[in-house]
């Protein structure tokens, strides 16, 4: 029964709204860790991931009910995918001017306390990237450092988008393995 879905059923809606909130809260709590991880992977920032997750939650609460949704879980992540894409587009527009490596203004300054361990990690990452085929490290650096989409890299390197994604994933795996092995 979804009374809250009927026209003019303002009073009937209260019980429905309570149930709806309960349902959303349960959904959100059940998938909270995965949701944060999902947004973290896309936004490259755990802080931004938490902020967007919060926004997703608020939006879900504001919806009337989810009774028409086949899979609330899929709905939750699709919403998160859309909202993270909006966030990325906003960032991209802010950085719309061509990226110039000689220009030092566009980078994000790391927090001071991250610095010490970061220095060591950079050495490991650089060494790991040297061990990989040139194409693999190039695609990876263009993606994570220059922030280029797979499609742009594909065009620049004359590869398919799928190959670019493969190179980027491969480089990530290799860097992670090296860090596991060498950073205590």
């Amino acid at each position: 029964m979804d009374k809250s879905n009927q026209d003019g059923g303002a009073d009937d809606g209260k019980a429905g709204t309570g149930r709806h909130h309960e349902q959303i809260r349960a959904l959100y709590e059940e998938h909270h860790r995965a949701l944060i991880a999902f947004l973290h992977s896309r936004l490259s920032s755990r802080a931004d991931a938490q902020e967007v997750a919060q926004e997703v939650y608020v939006r879900l609460l504001a919806l009337e009910d989810l009774s028409h949704v086949d899979s609330p879980k899929a709905f939750l992540f699709r919403m998160a995918a859309n909202m993270s894409l909006d966030q990325l587009r906003k960032r991209a527009v802010r950085a719309a001017a061509p990226i110039d490596p000689n220009d030092n203004d566009w980078h994000v300054t790391p927090l001071p306390e991250q610095h010490a361990s970061a220095v060591q990690q950079w050495k490991v990452v650089q060494q790991a990237l040297r061990e990989l085929p040139a194409k693999t490290s190039k695609a990876f650096v263009m993606h994570v450092i220059e922030g280029r989409d797979f499609s742009v890299i594909a065009q620049a390197m004359k590869l398919s988008e799928r190959m670019v994604r493969y190179h980027v994933g491969h480089a990530m795996a290799h860097c992670r393995e090296r860090i596991e092995a060498e950073v205590p």
């Binding site: 110039d100 790391p110 990237l129």
Partner: protein, 330 residues
């Protein structure tokens, strides 16, 4: 102490990195997300491995300028040969670089056109580009385009947004536009390409183009589109649907009008956002599937948004820096 890690750990690290890369597609398929969820929730160690990949991604993203510079020099030195004095110039000046590069290339000098030239327009700002071969591009707002003129090729990639091409025909050097999965080859032409994610619309105003989807190959060489025709590429099915279009209506955006015929609201909003001071967000994905036909004037976007509740079951909430479209409370 370096300990030997069990093979299972290495496999886990690889799986996590692979998923990480897949989810970094601008628009991952619903199926990808579903499969990832099944994987990440199957075992806490999966989640942990995935989070570690994310954290490394974050560290790289937040790298300071000198680290970035070092990594770029070492692994992606594309821009290095570009003369330093050119580097500081803004987008407008890239035209000069391209022309200069073309001339140098055709005279056998150092081939700086080997560096793809990238163009990006701001929100609400169309941009005119003249390419080294005399072809012109009118780039819509918030759009990105890369032109590669190395070795006499003419390869364009539309990263996002919309562009109208007027091509100088040169049979020896085909003019090719890649828009995600779709490839458009010029056959003597003026045409418009709009890319919204992987969804691509091509409309021809003059001459014809050849279209290729990922499934096309030598035996199935794609299809030709003539003046007055439009093709919409549906990435979910990997096929084009054709319709006829009035040449006057193609690329109306150049006259500050965005025209839509039977298009999903999500596509409409994505394109309106390229011109809107405040991005519009669709809070309820179900709204994105509603169909819209009509014209949005670029200089009256705010009032168009304000009027949406009159035609759709939506409510509009305005904030200082964005607007939210949500399902109307019934």
């Amino acid at each position: 102490m370096v300990t030997t890690r069990p093979a299972a750990d290495a496999a886990l690290t690889r799986a996590a990195a692979d998923w990480w890369a897949r989810l970094r597609e601008p628009e991952p398929a619903a199926q990808t997300i579903e499969q990832w969820l099944a994987w990440v929730q199957a075992d806490p160690r999966h989640a942990e491995a995935f989070e570690q990949a994310c954290q490394l991604g974050e560290n790289l993203h937040a790298a300071d300028a000198s680290t970035r510079d070092t990594l770029l020099r070492a692994f992606a030195p594309e821009r290095r040969p570009r003369p330093r004095w050119l580097a500081g110039l803004a987008v407008a000046a890239s035209l000069l670089v391209a022309v200069l590069g073309w001339r140098v290339a055709t005279h056998g000098g150092p081939d700086i056109t080997a560096q793809p030239q990238r163009y990006a327009s701001g929100i609400g700002q169309n941009q005119d580009i003249r390419l080294p071969d005399g072809s012109t591009v009118q780039l819509g707002a918030a759009s990105t385009l890369t032109a590669s003129y190395a070795k006499g090729q003419r390869a364009i990639a539309l990263g996002t947004g919309e562009a109208f091409f007027t091509v100088t025909h040169d049979q020896a050097h085909p003019f090719v536009v890649d828009a995600g999965e779709v490839r458009i080859e010029d056959l003597g032409t003026a045409f418009n390409v709009r890319r919204t994610g992987q969804q691509v619309t091509v409309a021809v105003t003059q001459g014809r183009v050849r279209l290729q989807a990922p499934g096309d190959n030598k035996r199935q060489p794609g299809m030709e589109l003539m003046a007055g025709q439009q093709a919409d590429y549906d990435p979910r099915r990997g096929v084009f649907s054709m319709s006829s279009v009035s040449v006057d209506h193609v690329a109306a955006w150049r006259d500050n009008r965005l025209e839509f015929v039977n298009e999903p609201l999500s596509t409409v909003i994505a394109n309106v956002n390229r011109y809107s001071r405040r991005p519009v967000q669709i809070a309820d994905p179900r709204l994105g599937e509603l169909t819209f036909t009509g014209t949005v004037k670029i200089n009256t976007i705010d009032s168009w948004i304000g009027a949406l509740p009159r035609v759709f079951p939506v409510q509009v909430s305005s904030f200082a820096d964005h607007v939210v479209l949500d399902s109307a409370a019934r």
